[in-house]
């Protein structure tokens, strides 16, 4: 599905963050991921914080005079089916987390450019690109 408006991009972003939160929440309480439980719990909390900040920034920054139509931006390119399963091994969970962070880093970078007309929010996207990169680095250090 093509995301053609600011609110469509935002809604999809919040959906992706909800998936992130769910993944890390579940992974953090798994015995198999003992070595990364604390990291996963922290990443779940970071995801919740990002969601709150995005909603607030969108509400406070949306300006009818600055809205622009968006083209060439498709959900399918970023949709993640990354879900945590109790049957996952520690290595599998880490691999899934790595994949999630790579995809989300790409999403924030490219989505941020698409909504650059609402700078108050696109700056957050830029910050979150870096945050996801940092998360990826933390995960990779455990591999």
């Amino acid at each position: 599905m093509e995301l053609k408006t600011f609110s469509a991009v935002l809604r999809f972003t919040l959906q992706l963050e909800d998936q992130t939160t769910k993944f890390y929440q579940e992974a953090s309480s798994s015995d198999k991921c003992g070595g990364a439980n604390q990291l996963f719990a922290g990443l779940a909390e970071s995801s919740r914080k990002r969601r709150r900040a995005l909603e607030k920034a969108a509400r406070e920054s949306v300006d009818h005079s600055l809205l622009e139509p968006i083209s060439g931006f498709f959900e399918e390119n970023y949709a993640t089916s990354t879900t945590f399963s109790e049957t996952m091994s520690y290595a599998e969970a880490l691999a899934a987390a790595n994949q999630l962070e790579e995809r989300m880093q790409k999403f924030y970078l490219e989505a941020g450019e698409k909504i650059s007309f609402i700078l108050g929010v696109s700056r957050l996207y830029k910050r979150y690109t870096q945050e996801r990169a940092k998360a990826l680095a933390s995960l990779q250090s455990l591999s």
């Binding site: 599905m1 093509e2 995301l3 053609k4 408006t5 600011f6 609110s7 469509a8 809604r11 509400r59 406070e60 920054s61 949306v62 300006d63 009818h64 005079s65 600055l66 809205l67 622009e68 139509p69 083209s71 007309f117």
Partner: protein, 493 residues
């Protein structure tokens, strides 16, 4: 949907007035339908209030003024802080009402509510904004002070295109300065202000400080004729702005009347087309072209014309039109059946005048909303500034393309037009931008900006036939409009 009384034989509610702190059903038996322009569903009925009801509201506001003006400015500001917080809680609800009664997209609705809240935030700074000034010893032991004081009851007659935002260009400033207020919303779109007054009621302002009376021009005339109203704010078409200004000032009132527009977007040869085309799309087609700041005439200067035209047509074709509750929709319907007919009539006129219709939005049908008042993005090529479509306000999704050989010619075209609401230039050249900014006869100017909408702490300007009055809405102008100067010279023995 808001405070209302159900009619005996129907499920459609009649909305109420809000007078002296209470919701009051109108005594009038005359009502008009409030229609969703996408679905054509009747959402509610709005009463045409009686003369007596309007006069009663004025008297309540006048009585409330005596206490309200004695309330310290900070206390008055605290009510605005409370109102702001309540509006934040109901942000999404008001945004959705706007989509339903006006037809704008959900993003446009949210953007409108945000601007309304910003006016409240700015007006809450009135303890500082309303400060006067003084000087000791203008002569030995004589001091002189200038105070800003409120005047009494003010009113506004807002338009149908921004029913939630435009009243707030005026209300919070008037109230914060110590005046009391009456709003008469557009009878086409009264529901968002109806909701706002529910929130105002929740904020617990003293009775009579803010009042709402519904109706049409007849109600406006009662307000304009009232000796107890000190000032009027109006936004709408130029002919009606002239009428309101004339009538208000002839009865001794202050008046600020924003009229219509025909805004030019000048694209210079060095403009970055890929950056500016989406901006121009928002300017011309945002809110379905129903903004007084909307771009109408796009002037391509020199050899930018052909590549610009190609990109504009391509981008306009891609705009998704539909019901604004769907987040993917980029443009909604026109406000009413009459608005749609007016736009279609202008398209016919354009064809008769010899302009070339290169994108025809007339026969657009939206699946599921076949009866909605939709017109798709429309573009005319080879438009002359003296053509009707090039000089009169269409107030719809119609772009007129014009050619100019240079910036001077573009400015001449702008200046020939009787309106002077807004104008924009798109360029990377500082010299052209500065030249444009300095010379253009328009009140709201954009440089690489398609909708030059001033934020709350700046006045919403407008020149020539786009504005009648001296002081604009918002900003310091608002403080000056809603106060009078009292100069005091004092001496003590």
């Amino acid at each position: 949907m808001g405070q209302s009384t159900k009619l005996a034989d129907t499920n459609v509610a009649v909305i109420r007035n809000y007078v002296n702190g209470e919701w009051v059903p109108s005594r009038s038996t005359r009502t008009l339908d409030v229609v969703n322009p996408a679905t054509t569903e009747v959402l509610a009925r709005v009463p045409i209030s009686t003369r007596e009801e309007v006069q009663e509201a004025v008297q309540y506001a006048k009585q409330a003024y005596e206490d309200w003006r004695e309330t310290p400015p900070l206390t008055r500001a605290r009510y605005l802080f409370t109102l702001k917080n309540i509006m934040e809680e109901h942000f999404e609800e008001v945004s959705r009402i706007l989509v339903q009664e006006h037809g704008k997209t959900i993003d446009e609705g949210r953007g409108e509510v945000r601007r309304a809240i910003e006016c409240i935030e700015h007006a809450a700074g009135t303890p500082t904004l309303m400060m006067g000034y003084g000087l000791e010893n203008i002569a030995p032991e004589l001091d002189e002070d200038c105070l800003l004081q409120p005047l009494g009851v003010f009113c506004c007659l807002p338009p149908s295109n921004f029913p939630a935002m435009i009243p707030f260009w005026f209300i919070p400033y008037a109230i914060a300065c110590g005046n009391t207020y009456i709003v008469k919303p557009s009878s086409e779109v009264p529901l968002s202000m109806n909701k706002m007054f529910e929130l105002i009621h929740e904020a617990d302002f003293p009775p009579g400080v803010m009042n709402l009376v519904n109706g049409t021009r007849e109600v406006a005339d009662v307000l304009l004729e009232s000796k107890d109203i000190k000032g009027v704010s109006f936004v709408g078409s130029t002919p009606v702005a002239k009428y309101v200004y004339s009538k208000a000032t002839s009865t001794g009132k202050r008046a600020q009347c924003q009229g219509g527009a025909k805004n030019f977007l000048v694209v210079m040869p060095d403009a970055l087309l890929d950056k500016i085309v989406p901006t121009i799309m928002n300017s011309v087609y945002g809110c379905t072209g129903q903004r007084c700041l909307a771009g109408a005439n796009v002037v391509g200067v020199g050899d930018v014309y052909e590549p610009l035209k190609q990109k504009l047509v391509e981008a306009a074709k891609a705009i998704k039109v539909g019901y604004g509750m769907d987040e993917s929709v980029q443009m909604g319907p026109l406000r009413s059946k009459q608005a749609k007919e007016k736009v279609l009539s202008y398209v016919e006129t354009g064809l008769e005048e010899g302009a070339k219709l290169i994108l025809d939005g007339r026969n657009l049908k939206v699946d599921g909303y076949e009866d909605g008042y939709f017109v798709g993005p429309t573009i005319f090529d080879n438009v002359g500034p003296k053509m009707k479509i090039g000089s009169e306000e269409i107030f719809g999704p119609v772009m007129c393309l014009m050619r100019a050989k240079d910036l001077d010619e573009a400015l001449d075209m702008i200046h020939q037009n009787p309106h002077g609401n807004a104008a924009s230039i798109f360029t990377q050249n500082g010299k052209w931008a500065r030249e444009f900014k300095h010379r253009v006869q328009a009140g709201n100017v954009g440089i690489n900006i398609g909708i030059a909408a001033p934020v709350a702490y700046f006045p919403f300007s407008g020149w020539k036939d786009s504005f009648f009055g001296d002081l604009h809405g918002q900003g310091f102008d608002a403080i000056n409009f809603f106060t009078e100067r009292k100069v005091v010279i004092s001496r003590w023995f």
